[in-house]
Symmetry: C2
Subunit: 255 residues, 2 copies
Amino acid sequence: RRLLLLPPNHLDAISQEGLSEEREAAGSGGEPARKGKQRRGGKSKRKKAKTDEDDDGWGEEEDSSETESGGGGPAAGERQREHPFIVTEPGEVARAKKNGLDYLFHLYEQCREFLLQVQSLAKERGQKCPTKVTNQVFRYAKRTGASYINKPKMRHYVHCYALHCLDEEGSNELRRAFKERGENVGAWRQACYKPLVAMSANHGYDIDALFNAHPRLSIWYVPTKLRQMCHVARSGGGAATSAAGGLPPPPPPMF
Amino acid sequence: RRLLLLPPNHLDAISQEGLSEEREAAGSGGEPARKGKQRRGGKSKRKKAKTDEDDDGWGEEEDSSETESGGGGPAAGERQREHPFIVTEPGEVARAKKNGLDYLFHLYEQCREFLLQVQSLAKERGQKCPTKVTNQVFRYAKRTGASYINKPKMRHYVHCYALHCLDEEGSNELRRAFKERGENVGAWRQACYKPLVAMSANHGYDIDALFNAHPRLSIWYVPTKLRQMCHVARSGGGAATSAAGGLPPPPPPMF
DNA sequence: AGAAGGACCAGTGGTCCGTA
DNA sequence: AGAAGGACCAGTGGTCCGTA
């Protein structure tokens, strides 16, 4: 069951060791390992050879077509990243060093499971219990081996996941349309904002309420840009722009 | 209406100016005002002469009995603080440079009003809306002139306020008993923990649930020590201490 | 060019400890 | 001594920008 959650090309504990070595090597002499703006040098991450259990049918590849370093795993000095996403239809499996959108959404479900575990641990220990996917959860995910999950990525696509949660049909249609047109992931991502703003209008443009009403979505922070777009839509959506003085801003057109 | 919320001895805008001067004087030469561990020197706060409107019947004094500086307001170089709390019965007004516990609890109600204002502003502006009394709320309170409200003080007595909210009768009895015995505020404060832990037992020792069930209490963070005490009570409250290996810790005796 | 993510940064929750 | 609160600090939310 757990293995089904692994990504097609995840990094493993070996990478963690690589990181550790890097960290230790940095503090030469034992001083508190200054973290100046320049801490980008050391390249020592490694990728492990893919094992059979890792093939979970989610995307597959990254094996024989390993060109950059001849034989086995990549040489030291290569920085391993997740493959970029491409716009895929629902159910479509991405090929050729790409990841599909089903996999993207799957990462959000994984984060939710990590949150549930962190919550469960916190309760056992009598500690504060997070209600959202926090830094603590990302750290836990990484420690648990899910090194392919990171905060910037998850935050970047939250609103895409939101559309998937709130209007799966609409989300699916959008994916098909953008794949058809050959648009890249960035364009699809941008297009996910509009239907969400439209949905928020039915709730007085309260995007937080919309997120909180959905149990799998409520654990995610509302992205700043989406909140701003809903605010602008509420304020500027009407015919005329209020020319009156400062105080009570445009009333929300509720339902 | 607003004036009724002011404390018996609040500081005012003058104090803020004093602080500003202090801050500017610190950065001698224009460098980024280093904030080393030593930033404790400058004394430049001032207290303003009390005006008639300030007499709101909450505690009164600090007027003619001003001994330390002869005539009018205190001289520059005096650091003004709120008067310390003393244990008072419900309805009892503290005298002689002391503040009573009704006033303490009143501060919590004031913070709630400041939170409501911050929330209202945030919603108007389409910004994140705090659900708790955060740093932002304390900053807003201070800016609005409530310089007598500060975070360490409010956090220090949160559990006392919790008892007042959740069991006003019990809280009142405790106050009477501790006043009778001539106990100081610290002793009364310590005594407020126990009844709360006992109440939490009825909710599976889930102190967060207890806080969240009360609308005026739910806006306050659960104090670390109270959470720990509830955890200890849940774990060690039973007859025997589990000698078994690590994993599933003591089950909560729920109701 | 398009995209993934290490690392930074302003402001947070939490509370110590120099102060009165 | 008992108590109020300025100021510190580790770890947060947020995302930029050097990287691949």
